[in-house]
């Protein structure tokens, strides 16, 4: 546990050792603002809630989070430090989880810095802050899902660009499978059960469910399982590479 947190601390501090972290946070906040106020027409709707803020998160995360997760393993492999890391007396799962938590912590920090939006909505009206809190939790879980997928794919390659691209594609598939556009495509011919299964694999479906303000155990379980599966896959991939010597 101690070793895990030591890894997390080092990784987390690593984000701030270059201007990259600040650039990332600023661009993320700008993109969030643009999406909310421009695409989401926040003011025009005239409702005191943050629906138009949270609805874009799956699509923003799709590009922002693979940019964080791509370096998790690919960079270690590239600069050789993976050899150092994997020969320390620390279990592989502690390293995988430690690195993952640092990435999640960083993305959570970026998310929390959107608090002016929350202040604004409370200034303008009387929103249901319970729903907003649930939505923030949902957003963190969503980020957790994307980052777990990205962690696994980053472990496959030493090239960060490749890690980024395949992570975007994978996250896109896991998101779009719940988008109305895709589901309608299936609804006309496929049995309802299939459509529902497909939708249930989507991060979008579960995220939307939470942003309504209802934290259903099944939605939380979905994210927990997804994260667990992909972190386990990360451990397996890194361990496999030990045998290959790549």
């Amino acid at each position: 546990m101690n070793a895990l947190l030591t890894i997390t601390r080092r990784e987390f501090a690593g984000y701030f050792s270059t201007p990259l972290a600040f650039v990332f946070i600023i661009v993320f906040l700008l993109a969030n603002g643009l999406a909310t106020f421009y695409l989401g027409a926040y003011f025009a709707i005239g409702q005191a809630d943050l629906t138009s803020f949270f609805m874009f998160h799956p699509w923003l995360y799709l590009f922002f989070l693979p940019a964080i997760s791509m370096r998790l393993w690919a960079e270690e492999r590239r600069n050789g430090s993976i050899e150092l890391l994997l020969t320390l007396p620390v279990s592989l799962s502690a390293i995988v989880v430690g690195k993952y938590l640092a990435a999640l912590g960083f993305s959570t920090l970026a998310l929390l810095l959107t608090f002016p939006v929350w202040l604004t909505v409370n200034y303008l009206g009387e929103p249901d802050n319970g729903v907003i809190l649930a939505s923030y939790l949902g957003s963190i879980l969503l980020a957790g899902g994307y980052l777990a997928i990205g962690s696994c794919l980053s472990a496959l390659t030493r090239n960060q660009v490749i890690a980024f691209v395949i992570s975007v594609v994978a996250c896109f598939l896991f998101t779009v499978s719940g988008a109305p556009l895709v589901l309608e495509l299936f609804q006309s011919w496929a049995p309802q059960a299939l459509v529902e299964t497909l939708a249930s694999f989507s991060l979008l479906t579960h995220f939307r469910a939470i942003t309504t303000g209802v934290i259903d155990a099944r939605d939380v379980m979905f994210f927990a399982t997804l994260i667990g599966v992909f972190l386990t896959a990360t451990v397996i991939v890194v361990d496999m590479k030990k045998g290959e010597g790549a």
């Binding site: 101690n2 080092r10 501090a13 690593g14 050789g80 050899e83 994997l86 007396p89 030990k242 045998g243």
Partner: protein, 337 residues
């Protein structure tokens, strides 16, 4: 009934047991076995691609062997990697580190993750910094450091927890002669209670710090022994080398010509000429040969610049053993279906 005593099979701190590593069809390490005891510094020699780094990666648990294993302090690196790794210090090839960190933060991270307690941590940090002379650069990001300092940061990382076993892949690569000297001195200072393996292709280094040496080529051991034992396998072993003014070359050669059972090789570099006098295997003893050469020189009133009995040359042995006829590389042929 008497008590049953369990006698450990060996008191080696490092035990390499029939290590094999294959990458596809290519065998990088082929059935390697050796052991290193406390106080020994094993020099791992071989041309590039001989399997030195691959072997070290397996010993430290970074690569999984195709078969065989390594034991560190009796702990199997494949079966109990974490226990074995607590006894290990490892400097990987190229001394990788996290470029954004400062040496101080980097070493503190290693100390924390290796679970040293507070008091031990403070002395450990001071000692490692002392040995590698990192004072001046402790708070500069590692990627702004010179190659020599980066190597020393890697070295500090490997020794900070005072491990029983040290594995170092080319610890002096890229250092200037002074830094090389410092690193060698640091290794010597530590070697008393440790088992150390270093890989190198600098032969003088083996002479300077290794108590044992091993030459590997294409994944197999081709020679092992103490550095002087290895050097003795050189054809120069027991030869007499006479260095003199080039002008005196002919006179000296004539003076030695009638010595029974010898042959000579002459190398001339500018105004200096070296005569290597080899005795036939059933001929003169090396010391007798030296005496004979000295006697004849003084008889002819030739004053040599140097006259020495050769103990053997490691580079000669190295070249001899690793340049042996390799099977011709398979020629690439275009095949049409």
């Amino acid at each position: 009934m008497g008590k049953i005593f369990v006698i450990p099979a060996t008191d080696s701190m490092i035990e390499i047991d029939r290590l094999v590593k294959k990458f596809g069809d290519f065998t990088a390490v082929n059935d390697l076995s050796f052991s290193v005891e406390s106080g020994q510094v094993m020099g791992f020699l071989g041309p590039n691609g001989a399997g030195k780094s691959t072997t070290m990666k397996m010993i430290t648990g970074f690569l999984r062997p195709t078969s065989g294993t390594a034991r560190i302090m009796g702990l199997d690196i494949c079966e109990a990697p974490l226990a074995a790794q607590t006894h290990l210090g490892y400097l990987p090839e190229g001394a990788p580190a996290w470029p954004d960190m400062t040496p101080r933060a980097f070493l503190e991270f290693i100390i924390r993750i290796r679970g040293l307690d507070k008091i031990a941590a403070r002395t450990a940090l001071g000692r490692a910094i002392d040995m590698t002379e990192l004072y001046g650069v402790l708070d500069q990001p590692i990627d702004t450091l010179s190659k020599g300092f980066r190597r020393r940061v890697g070295l500090a990382q490997a020794i900070v927890h005072d491990p029983d076993v040290l594995i170092m892949d080319e610890p002096t690569d890229g250092l200037d002669p002074n830094q090389k000297f410092q690193v060698r001195r640091a290794i010597e200072e530590m070697s008393e209670h440790k088992a150390i393996v270093i890989s190198t292709h600098i032969l003088e280094e083996v002479d300077a710090i290794c108590s044992q040496a091993m030459i590997i080529d294409r994944g197999e051991i081709v020679a092992e022994g103490t550095p002087s034992q290895l050097a003795a396998r050189s054809r120069y072993h027991g030869a007499v080398t006479l260095t003199l003014d080039t002008a005196l070359k002919t006179k000296a050669a004539e003076a030695l010509a009638d010595l029974a059972g010898i042959h000579m090789e002459v190398t001339t570099r500018g105004d200096e000429t070296s005569l290597h006098v080899f005795a036939a295997s059933d001929g003169l003893e090396p010391s007798a040969l030296l005496a004979q050469v000295r006697e004849r020189m003084s008889a002819q009133a030739i004053a040599p610049r140097a006259l020495a009995l050769e103990t053997g040359r490691l580079d000669d042995v190295f070249g001899e053993l690793t340049r042996k006829a390799r099977p011709p590389a398979p020629r690439y042929e275009e095949t049409s279906a």
